[in-house]
Every structure is written in structure tokens, then in C-alpha cells.
Symmetry: C2
Subunit: 400 residues, 2 copies
Amino acid sequence: MNRFEPNLRIPGPTALPPSVREAGGRQMINHRGPEFAAMLGRILARMKPYFGTTSDVAILSCAGSGGLEAAVVNTLSPGDKVLGVSIGSFGDRIARIAQVYGANLTKLSIDWGRAADPDALREHLVEHPGYKAVLLTHNETSTAVMNPIAELAAVIHDVQPDALIIVDSVSGLGAVPFEMDAWGIDVVVTGSQKAWMAAPGLAMVAASERAWAAMETATMPRFYLDLRKHRESHALGQTPWTPAIAVVYQVDAGLELMEAEGAAAIFARHETCAAATRAGLEALGFELFADPAHYSRTVTAARVPAGFDWKAINAAVKGEGVVLAGGQGPLTGQIFRLGHLGSVTLGEILDAIGVLEQVSIRFERRVEPGAGIAAAQSAALESMSIRPSAGRPATVATGA
Amino acid sequence: MNRFEPNLRIPGPTALPPSVREAGGRQMINHRGPEFAAMLGRILARMKPYFGTTSDVAILSCAGSGGLEAAVVNTLSPGDKVLGVSIGSFGDRIARIAQVYGANLTKLSIDWGRAADPDALREHLVEHPGYKAVLLTHNETSTAVMNPIAELAAVIHDVQPDALIIVDSVSGLGAVPFEMDAWGIDVVVTGSQKAWMAAPGLAMVAASERAWAAMETATMPRFYLDLRKHRESHALGQTPWTPAIAVVYQVDAGLELMEAEGAAAIFARHETCAAATRAGLEALGFELFADPAHYSRTVTAARVPAGFDWKAINAAVKGEGVVLAGGQGPLTGQIFRLGHLGSVTLGEILDAIGVLEQVSIRFERRVEPGAGIAAAQSAALESMSIRPSAGRPATVATGA
């Protein structure tokens, strides 16, 4: 069936709301002038509560991966003992960055699809003292797993209190609660194209006072991604290098929408869309990939059914206007991923599940028409605490 | 006098043409899909002729300064002898990058406002053999000087043929002719917000076969800015990390306009606007800052007249809707800069000169009304080879 705009259900970039699109089309301004300074100040003030910090945040013109690099190279020195706790492709990436810059890296690799276990982490830290930093992923986009980050941080504080805790929350922050200060996290990274509903191009990096202090002595080389240069410049309402102004406009517009909706409603919307997605996929007979105890609330991964070719399924789904993401690395062809973050609405999830239902039936999988959709809707209503009424039947009064 | 859009006359970001603005407001797409691949291929094909190369170009999501860092860290190793030829703030910047990453840097600092002299460079190279690379600025945005880059490259090839030649052409490329292959340049960097008429956020870096080969053994650490990762990924129609898609849309739209106008016409338009700017400013009694033999064709700098406060002048000029740039570093308050690159038109230059004329008169400088504008127009016509006619007087026929 024809449609007029695709339903972009990849885990970022996320679809832009109309006012964010409009912002991306604005004329340029002087990035060293008062208009830019006002915008930067507004963005930082509105974004900080989502980090859960009173400390300084830096806005860098780069992808989330650039933000991960900034987190590492600003706080560490070559030879530092670093523990990379990896639960997927992005955990591997930040660990690799530390290695490239000369860290003495130990990698704790958890089976893809599972979260890091606080007890196992405790055991490792007890046996291997002296880490300068621990690298953690909050939301692992490649496996659709969300780590129990507060618990993991608590273990680190308990066993190796001097270790810096560096967290990749590129695809988590802004969509789910995060309490950097309360949990004692030292560096947190996010990206404009995820929960913030803007185009890719900006990475936001928050650092604790302890992390800012570590930068004074850290010796990994950095220039473009130097966080202290950004902090100094932000204090003057500027960025050290010419910023991606169009994306700054968009993040500003996205935060305007987030301000209107409110953090609690945003978090609830993400919960609801995640619950609907999982229920819909399961009702269609797809096996979810992630450990049920640690499902991501921004992306869901399901296994490609045995005997089916992901490329063929994906082509059919795309032909109906729904854009999904495949698996990455070793999971290529094994899983597919459906993103539900940023501007996502329940209607878009029902649409995507509906198309997957349609395609499943066309591919001769045994599926009852409406089953996926109904399950998704039920889970959504449950998530919103809207429960079936025992009262009057849902009939229309016919008068007389 | 009120106006409805400022005349953005800073040397980047440059004003966006309507179709480029529209492109910035487009909806997101999957950056690993076929639409993105087609766009990336089109951009690379259309951009390469402006570099004057048949070698591979990488598109990075970062500011021009990130591109400069990429040029250095991909091709060099700590301890390498590197000559940084600096004629201003951006020459200082790339030299500093090399130093931060451990190069054994020698800096040849030329007085600001002057170009590098090929004979002096030859003398230095003869006396100091063994450079691994020479860092040059093509167009120095901070001083409005354009280096004789072909001559400088020829000297390097002659005296130290093994040295890599790394050129910052962030604010030059696309606006003036450049022949990377013919001149034997190894790395050239440019940025989306300059001649390319798009928002900031992308740096484009071209590397010669020799430079690509150097990357195999160069050991400065790099990850986000790794050019080889970009080349591999571009071959698949992708980027290694999520790209600044909105800016990619804009660069694509800008190149569409450049394709229609044609390189020769673009270069001539920049010449004309530069000539008009210089003539207009001089007719208003401003002393140009740069060595007349090496005026930039994308930005012009003039001295703030003795006894005048730049901030006061600038506030008045901005009040009339023209946005100029001040001096950087030691030139703060000493010079001002007027950019004429990217989407610049002669009308915008006449407008800017007109406002400077108006403000000059209001500040009680002795200026004949219309003098600046007339001089700018004359120089523009001269540049376009439109000469006063000796023929019929310019009167309207009144009939019988």
C-alpha cells in the first residue's frame, strides 16, 4: 500500500518532528554572536536535568563515536589500566578507542544479548585491583540490552572507588531516567540523533568534578575533542571550533518539545512503545534477542526466524514503508532491530507491527490477522495503566 | 533602516541559498541505506574536480579543525620532523595539532598579513633537511591572505621531495582554482560551511596515493578521524560513524547549484566580489591589511582606523543588518574582516559597502556619499571586463 513518508524505525537517526525539521532549514548566523550564545545556554540548561548532573556538559560537533573518543582521551593516559565491560558492538568500540590511544585494556566481554552482571563485575574488580577507569555501556544499541547502570556503578564505587566510571549512553539518555550525580558516574556521552529528536552531528559529554580534575593530568593526545577547550568556550557562549549550527538549531527545537512534554511523560512514552513492540513481535512469533530482565526501552531486537532470509523480509517490510535495522557484526542476518526512541509514538509502533504482521503472513508464517497489533495495543494500554472495564458494554445507545 | 534578513558577511558559515536551507529541513533517512549511498557518491564525484584530484576524498562529520587534525594524525608519527609554515591563526592551529600529537615541530612564522615566500621557504628547506611533512595554509582566514600554494609546493618538491605536503584549504577550496594532483599536494582539507554553501558540520579531506600509503605506517593515534576507515566505508556508500545527515543533504544541494553555475563562473564571481570589496573599502579610507600581492579571494581584512573603537563601529554596522567578523588573537580590535565566499553576490557586497559608508559618515569620517559603492561597482565591472562605452550617451530615445 502506498504511503507518503516512511516509518523510520531504526535506532537512530530518529525521525524529526516538524518543528525540528523547520529548525534545520534556518539561515546561518554568526557562531560567535549573542544569538548563538543564548541558544547554547538554553540547550545546556535544558539538557543537564536529563543527565542528572549539576556539573558541566560539553557539546561537540561530531557523531556519538566522537563523543566516546572524547570521554576516553580527555580523562586517561597511555598505560592506564582500563576495564572495558562490553555487552555488544558499542562496548567493543569504546574499548577499542582506549586501546588505540594506549590504555592497558582489560576487556570483560559478556555474551551478546545479556547485560553485565553486578556480581560478576564485583568478582572481577576484587581480583583485579588498580583500574584507572571502567568503561560501561548504558544502552547497547547493537543488542537492545540496557545495563543496570546504577547497580554496576555502585559495585565499582564499593570495590575500586578511585576508578573513573565512563558511560556510553548515546542511545539511552533523554529517553529513560539517568542520575549521573546520584549514581556517581564520571563521564556520560549522548548524541543528537537519538532521544533528542535532531539530526546526527552533535555529541554531548558530561563530566563530574572528578573527571574534570582528571583532565588536568591525563596525557592521551587530544585537540579537536578537547573537553576543557569546550568548557572554556561554552562559558563565553561559544564553541572552540565552528559548531554544526543547523544541528544546534534542531537540538534546541527538540528540547523545546521535550520541555512541553515533560521528562516523566517522555520516559512513560518510551516505556509504552517498548512494551508494545515486544508484545507485538512476540505475538507474531518472533523470539526476542535480549535477556528479558534487561530489555532496552529504546530499541528491541528479535531473531530472524530459522529458515528465513533477513534481506528478503527486510525488502518486503521496506516496500511497505517501514525502515528497520539489521544486526551488526556477528549478528548480521541473525537479528533485526526496531528502534523506539526520540519522537516515537504508539501509532508508529502499531503501524510497524502491522506491516511485520502483513509480511509474516505473505511469507507464509502462521499468524492470525490482527494478533500482533492487538497484543501490542494490549501491552501499551497495560503500560499506561488503562485496564479493561467491567462496566457497561461498549455499545452505542440507539435511543428510545 | 529595517531589513528582513541580515547580510552575513563573516568568512563562514556563509549564507545558505534557499534550496540548501530546504535541504537542511529534510526528514532523516537510514544512513546505511541506498538513498544515502547515492547521495554520498554524487557528492564525492562532484567535489573531486574542485580538489583537482583523481584520488580518494573522505567526508568526516566534524568542523574544519577536525579535518586539520585528521590530515596530521593519519599521515604522521610521533617524533616525525614537521615544518609548520604559519601565516596566521589557522597556520598556528595545524602546527599546534602536530605538536600535541608528538611531532618534532619546527615553526616558520611569517608576519601576519604576509604570505609565505617561496625563496625563504627554499632557503629554510635547504638548511634543514629531513622533514617528513610540511604544513601549509592555502587561504588564511584570520589575515585574509592567500598563499602562492603552487609555488610553495614546487619548492618543497624541488628541495625535499620526500616531504608530505599538507594543506589547509578550509576557506579556499571550491571558491578558487586548486590543482592538488598537478601541484603535487598530498592532503587537502576543506569545510562544508565555506565555499560549499552549507551549514558547518562536515570536513572533506583528500589524500594523494602517497598520503594514503603513509597512513599504513603512521602511528599517531586516531579513531574517530581515521581516514582509512572512511575510505573503506565510502566504498560501500557509507560512513564509519553516523554522519551529520542534514549537512550532507545541504552539501548535496549546494553542489547541485555549483553544477548549474559551473566552476569557471564560480571562480569569476569570487574574483569580482573580492575586487569590489577591496575597492569599496579603500575608497572609504580603510587600509587593507593583507599584502596586496596575496589578497585572499574569499575574505578581505582592513585595519580599524586609528582612534576608532571596533566594537562601536561593529555595533552600528550590525544595527544596519550587516554581520562582519572582527580580528582574531593579536588582531582583536585591530582589523575587521568581510567574507565573500560561497553564495556571495555582488549585490550583497554593494550592500555591505553601502552600510560601511553610511556608518563611516555617521562616525564623522570624511567620506563622499556614494564613493565607496561607486568604487566597488567600478572594480566589479572591471573584473567582469565590462568597460565604459565610448559610444552613444546613455539617454532614452524620446521618439520623433
